[in-house]
Subunit: 339 residues, 4 copies
């Protein structure tokens, strides 16, 4: 049994880590921290987690003694504690944006924060960086939108097929976190669609980092808040390069099969089958479909993930499994809650 | 007072015509027809319409005596009765797709039906074709997706600014009509996003008809069903032509103000203001916003309409007002039901 | 034309007053006040109200000059300004709880506030107190739950049929107002049912005031927040007195017909017809149905209202019409937005 | 490893059995039957269940060879096959209403069907009938409403505290099954509350069977369909007997603790804590709260279950575990998906 700790466990991603780790056969939760809820039993904050015996503690980094530490802390806060956590000898999986960037300048531009730590994390998208994650002490767990966007479009850029990608994403409201605001007020969300930061959401920089590289691909992103609790549905509109204008849907699918065919958590939909949030709800699976090309040379790809699981805590556990040398699927095999 | 009749009044668009026409000061509803519900009082089908005294009748076209006849009949059914209705001397507003196309071949391709009528309708988008509508005996009332898509992007193509437009639309479920199906089953829609006909929805042809014309614009369209009862939110991603790559958001806005500045039903949002379905719910208004350009040369425009009002019955009444020489806003001045 | 003013017009009930009064043929809105939004154009707060020319002003009571003043102010705040507003010669309709009680002690107990004004308002339920409202200078507009509860059960107590009533109500979230809180956070409401104050909601005192009177009726109340934007669905479980244990559903219906048969805004459903929120959404109508009795002697009655219209602003306008001697239905004839 | 088969596995309860049994450590799914989908891979019907290798087969009862057989067949269909299934030597858990009743006459009255089998099932509510279930060959798995209703009120009647109970339940739409109808049409459910069979739902008979027994308790039931996918929230209004009119909330709670204190799946909420559907979503837990008494002598108790899990398939697996002598919680320990 490995010991784990969760720093900042009172939010939604903390709750999801708890939900899944309490059923994980190879780890034991030693500590869950919260400044605000010091001394509070966990079910007062996460009412579905009953009789776990866990209590929030306001502990400092050096008071933690664990093999793996998850930091479910806000952007900017993580980089202040991660170096100290690594000092304890633990491996760290950070769920904030602080350790996702190869180029700190990009982070500083989009997050408006000075990056004060010179430690580098491995980008925790297992299907792309499994080998690096295996050896990493620090993983920067991907953002929710980037996870769905990158996975749905990566084979297109990896095979140099397209020169422009427009990511149009629809996210559930849990992505906004546990704190209420006008944005998450029920009467403003229900029966509505809320596009936001339509040309300037910071996640575009993370998507560009992973899909770009190839300098001739233009990557754009527009997120929409929809009346959904959890899940991100991504529609990726890409435009074939002149030289690939005669590619067929079947050929397109082959590229995806080559990339993802052996991946446990990535499921490619059958012809004509649309991926649905309900199929991945509460699970770590990624459903990818689409494989259509219209007569303007536009490729349409679709993906669905649970933003709190595959877009955050489930992916973090997948990374943990890899870092600990466990079967990558341990504790994550449950299917989605459908309907 | 003018007499009106509604053919096929038992569906959602029929209900909306009733709801609004019963409060219209210049018309009286003489007949509402339904084969299925012959003899049934209207509130048995539209339970919100109480004490109107109206009863569905199974009447033939030549039994109708009205100044204006709305045909809320399925695609293919309209063309079988519209010629006879025009024979009675009535003006006709058809809410199906049968009379929206300048080129019948396009209709036949996308609807898979032989077009049997050689009468031409005027495309009933008042802001673009007001003068023609004024003189028309037959108006083909626009589709719901096309109304939101065309109005949000028209100034871009009218001013030759872009060479490609991707319309990514999110629609409420009432657009699927009153008949239940697996597609509209609550557990399949709630907490979900359902893209469909992702590269081949027939409405693309109607959008292309109005935005194309200019041969160098490529127009694509992908619709999504979202957990919303009524409303269509459209996000239009367009790509600036090389020669317009330095256009500013302010200049962009000016083109929209020039086109729509005097239109009662079209409201341009303030800078940074996002249009919302809740603001137009139940109303005939169109809210247009966005006016952003990202660093890849992508223009993002947004629009919101109520699919049953501005996307169907309200626009039909607006057309009626124009055809009868009434104030265009008669009976349509109510604001949206927000929240 | 009568002049009206709205004090505290930035919340949901203020928005609804604006939406409906701007289409009311006999009144003109002179002033809308808000301390917080002094100088702000109305559409910045109520984005559906465009081009009205109205601007929030931070005005004092004695600066208002209107025939009718609506106070959409919080409980406790109203009683501080209503006396001054009456001093200006205006008639006042107060939408808070401050002037709904015949016995100030009951108010003080349930609202936890000292009542500082000795002016009495008329309880503004038009179907019960029309004559008094006609002569009133001050009306205490009923609460949302009480409106649905009282109207659905009044004939039962008026005819002395039952000795106990349990009101089990389900309300939309707009009843919680425009300010976000954990209670109205989308992920807490969607796909959930939230009972609250299950044996101690203050509205029970208002329901008791109107249904009690008859000392032998016990009235209980439990509200539930459901994933609905607007509307209150009330299920009233009542228990027949011994001496009426053999009453038939038809006889029961007759009592309701006698009470409400001539009321424009109250619609009794047909046999077997269930009232729906969608049928009254955005409208001032009250739909009442049920009329069933099970073999334990329980009577089941149902009602639906729009909490912001019939449960607040629409009823306030109905009261205004009565107080001004106008046709009671002026500006309120629109049917519900269904679906 | 035990072999299991599911008869009629294409509906929601079938899908839930599959979802949970595929992660159950002690059983293997040998057969899933469906007449309609003979030869179809399971993911075509249950898109969240990928790569299971399972295919629907149209098998007859005598072709099945399993230790446990679940019959997820319609009322009336089960009794035609259960005798044959028992003949194969399997133990059977029937999810229909056919084997829930001690008195077949009650079944025949409420289901309108002649009961053709004289085999008796044990009522599969483990907390009440664990010992009988252990020895049973046939279990009648309880209905969804009854599960929530009985568990929330049982200690009240078991301790003879009340003389009348009114169960007011709110159910998610998945309870209506996988087949679309007007009742489940999204625009009819969303933003609405639909009471139905308000005084005559057949589940009242099952609730009465378990809560009655004590002849002086009158039990009534009214269900409401709310805009929720899964879950049943039950509000139980009960009336204290004269001799218990001075019972305190603390004493009330003690009765519940005595009954349920050692039950793994039943969680009693803290004082003032409201049970929520989100806390049990996708799980087998039952959350019970309330423990309030108003000044009319009304007791308010609340419960939440997932209708497809604890109200159907999860409870069936709990019964299976008991029948097989396994740890009752095997495969059922996952917490709810919150939010």
């Amino acid at each position: 049994m490995y010991n784990v700790a969760i720093v900042g466990a009172s939010g939604y991603t903390g709750g999801e880590l708890l939900r899944m780790l309490l059923n994980h056969s190879e780890v034991e939760i030693k500590d869950i921290t919260s400044r605000k809820y010091d001394g509070t039993p966990v079910h007062k904050i996460h009412p579905h987690i009953r009789d776990s015996g866990l209590v929030f503690k306001n502990k400092q980094p050096n008071e933690l003694d664990a093999d793996i530490i998850f930091t479910a802390t806000p952007h900017g806060a993580s980089m202040k504690i991660v170096p100290d956590l690594l000092e304890t000898g633990a491996k760290v999986i950070d769920l904030s944006g602080d350790y996702r960037y190869r180029d700190t300048k990009v982070y500083e531009k989009w997050y408006g924060l000075k990056h004060t730590s010179d430690i580098k994390g491995v980008y925790g998208l297992p299907e792309l960086y499994r080998d690096e994650i295996k050896k990493a002490d620090l993983v920067g767990n991907p953002g929710c939108f980037p996870t769905g966007a990158i996975l749905s479009s990566y084979p297109l850029v990896d095979n140099d097929l397209v020169d422009r990608i427009v990511i149009d994403s629809k996210t559930g409201v849990s992505g906004a976190g546990v704190n209420p605001s006008s944005t998450t007020h029920y009467p403003n969300i229900a029966d509505n669609v809320n596009p936001y930061k339509i040309s300037s959401h910071r996640h575009v920089s993370e998507i560009q980092q992973e899909l770009h590289g190839f300098e001739d691909v233009k990557v754009s992103f527009t997120p929409h808040l929809v009346p959904v609790i959890r899940g991100i549905q991504t529609t990726s509109h890409s435009f074939l390069k002149e030289e690939h204008s005669d590619i067929t849907p079947d050929e397109l699918r082959k590229f995806y099969e080559k990339t993802y065919g052996k991946e446990y958590f990535i499921k490619l939909m059958d012809d004509g089958e649309i991926p649905h949030l309900s199929s991945v709800r509460g699970s770590n699976f990624v459903h990818i479909g689409g494989f259509e090309i219209d007569d303007t040379g536009r490729v349409v790809m679709l993906s669905c993930i649970d933003n709190l699981v595959r877009g955050a805590s489930g992916q973090a556990i997948q990374n943990m499994n890899i870092m600990l040398g466990l079967d990558e699927t341990t504790g994550l095999k449950h299917f989605g809650i459908n309907p």
